[in-house]
Amino acid sequence: MIAFRTLLILLAAFLAVFWEAAFPGTSRWLHVQVDLLPPLIVYASLNTGMRTVALLGVFGGLLFDSLSANPLGVTILPLFIVGLAIYWRRELILRDQPYAQFVLGLGASAAAPLLTVVLLLTVGHPPLLGWGSLWQWLVMSLAGAIATPLFFLIFGWCERVLGHVPVIETSFRPDREIRRGRS
């Protein structure tokens, strides 16, 4: 089940990065391209193990950077740091509540681009920044927040439809049934 979930998440990351690059979507109207990797890492860190979080950070980051002008590997650390922070405190988070998912998505989608920009400035690749970047940051955060509960819904549905349901053993045994009345 865990391997299936990991595969599903990695496939979603692959398709998400391609969608971001191939379909302008929101960037034509709002001048912002939405990033779907932070909502994915929120889902992964709340529902899977550390291995999946690490894999998503590396795989998602490398895929994103391969289609972008980012230096290769620069997106790995921000994604992983966000995932790690959530994973660290996940026992205290009401992960089934859409409100909690929304807030986590908002935080993750706000933190990941910020960390990436800081890292870009650190490694000497100053990106295109200005006052308009604040608008982009706001829209990315909000869109990520909205996408997070949706990802929980979609993955929940996928697991119900495609994954196997574990057999629950009950204490009922037909040979130990108490028969009442005269026989």
């Binding site: 001048h31 950077d65 790995i76 920044l129 990315m140």
Partner: protein, 269 residues
């Protein structure tokens, strides 16, 4: 709480990220192209979806609207034919004068242009790049100029076998030596665009006495060795003194609409 295996995972990811970030430039470029080629099977899907969207849009257009557009295009076509005839005559006259003064003949662009389709755009909001469906097998190499109907679009940044990455004008990695077509023929460098508006780009390092007026044409100056002279870039919008009056900076409205590019032309050597 984090356990020992978690710390190992954290260490491995950090180590891997640092390793990839510190790879030599050539190895990084190759690795980037190799990872990017994972998306190859999806390119066809994307173009198919875009064509489908286009066809759906066509179905929604009324017959009268199409007839009106057809008529307007026919008129435009006639005007362009007249202009082309005029240009041909001017080119012949130019050739004669060049022979007279024994100047070197300039290469024409027409035969060196190769049409490419835009397949992907940069998913990060802080860069202005895109990918086209021509690569090294089509004769492309780095630093070739890329044009659109309006004018200059950018230059080829990296090339793989089947696709290439183009850095657009306004990206921090695409600087263009530009010339303003005014009396003083001021030259400067096209720099960054704003993060939101891709159509306005800064033209910096112009002389502090530059005679700039809104509406003046900006073209490539031919300096710098990448872009040939005379490619239209845009028009001056406004100007101001920068860095305590050290030089003049102008905002230029680009001729090419970088936000809606679907096909571009690569100028081969």
């Amino acid at each position: 709480m984090l356990k020992r295996p978690h710390y190992i995972a954290v260490g491995m990811v950090v180590l891997l990220a640092l390793l990839v970030l510190n790879l030599p430039g050539r190895a990084t470029a190759r690795l980037k192209l190799a990872i990017g080629s994972l998306f190859l099977p999806l390119f066809g899907l994307a173009s198919g979806a875009q064509q489908l969207t286009g066809k759906a849009g066509d179905l929604l257009l009324s017959r009268s609207e199409l007839a009106r557009q057809n008529e307007s295009l026919r008129r435009e076509n006639e005007q362009f034919r007249l202009l082309a005839m005029q240009a041909e005559e001017m080119a012949r006259e130019n050739d004669r004068l060049r022979k007279l003064f024994q100047w070197q003949q300039q290469h024409r662009w027409k035969s060196r242009l190769k049409l490419a389709r835009v397949i992907l755009r940069d998913p990060a909001n802080w860069w202005r790049t895109m990918q086209i469906d021509l690569g090294s097998r089509d004769g492309l190499r780095t630093n070739l100029p890329v044009l659109a109907i309006g004018g200059l679009v950018g230059r080829i940044h990296s090339v793989s076998l089947t696709r290439s990455q183009v850095v657009l004008v306004g990206d921090p990695n695409c600087k263009v030596a530009a010339l303003v077509e005014n009396e003083t023929l001021d030259t400067g460098v096209m720099g960054n665009a704003g993060p939101l508006d891709t159509s306005l780009v800064e033209l910096s390092y112009l002389s502090r006495n530059a005679a700039l007026k809104p509406g003046q044409n900006v073209v490539t100056s031919g300096l710098g060795g990448i872009f040939p002279a005379g490619i239209p870039i845009g028009k001056v919008v406004d100007s101001r003194l920068a860095e305590y009056g050290l030089y003049t900076e102008a905002r230029v409205k680009l001729e090419a609409n970088l936000g809606a590019l679907e096909e571009v032309w690569v100028l081969l050597p």
